[in-house]
Symmetry: C2
Subunit: 147 residues, 2 copies
């Protein structure tokens, strides 16, 4: 529930690199892998999957690679996360996730509103942050406390 996997983070990082490289021709998987320290073979899997979303396109062979197709201002983190996440089973609880069985949208579930609010809050952030925002490094306030 609300889990952001490594795969998700890799996907975002890869898209970040591709968005940054936009307009300069295809970027190779190997290059992305190096820049973002993502295991090559795993990255291949991820990019192939992302390609299906049409926001990136691939070109094979010599001088090949991936290119960012859409515009980074129009793709949000939420879009990416939703795309990578496996589609929920049709009878999962929207709020609780897998709990099913004894909680199929029971209005009397004391926790439903909580999980839903949490879900909304987090996706509000994800949805209002575009790849462009990430590129521009909108570090609102540099609270990098600790150490």
């Amino acid at each position: 529930m609300f889990y952001i996997s490594q795969k998700n983070k890799y996907a975002l990082k890869a898209l970040y690199e591709l968005a940054k490289h936009k307009g300069e021709g295809p970027l190779k998987t190997a290059e992305i892998s190096k820049r973002q320290r993502i295991p090559l073979k795993f990255l291949e899997v991820i990019l192939a999957e992302l390609k299906r979303s049409k926001i990136i396109a691939a070109k094979r062979g010599y001088q090949g690679g991936y290119t960012f197709v859409g515009s980074p201002e129009k793709i949000s983190v939420g879009d990416v996360i939703r795309f990578i996440a496996k589609q929920p089973d049709k009878d999962d609880c929207i709020a609780c996730g897998k709990e099913i069985k004894h909680c199929p949208y029971i209005p009397s579930c004391a926790f439903f509103p909580l999980w839903q609010k949490a879900h909304d809050a987090i996706f509000r952030i994800y949805d209002e942050t575009t790849l462009q925002d990430l590129l521009e490094n909108k570090h609102a306030d540099g609270i990098f406390s600790l150490k």
Copy 2:
């Protein structure tokens, strides 16, 4: 990252029952297990753990059970989640979770502010929801769409 485990949900449900039962003497593990459909043995583990937080107390033997000690208005969902979650390693990234290694609080990490905002947003919800709120079933608006 941001993952709410089944254990966490069980913990909340158990506390919900205990809070509801407050003032009526100890409530047995077996009873909680039945009411909330939580596997007994697993629940035992969870309650023993929660006891260490002092918000519930145990009494053994005949007529024993658990009692809610504090006041439900003062315990938030966030408190419970933080308590149950395993303490993060001292050099995990506050925002990203386990990513460590190549991201130890690097201010140049383009994603740090995002994860931090997400973290704040979700815990804001968790922290402002008390057990009492859950008891009062503050279903703001009954959007139990779907089916």
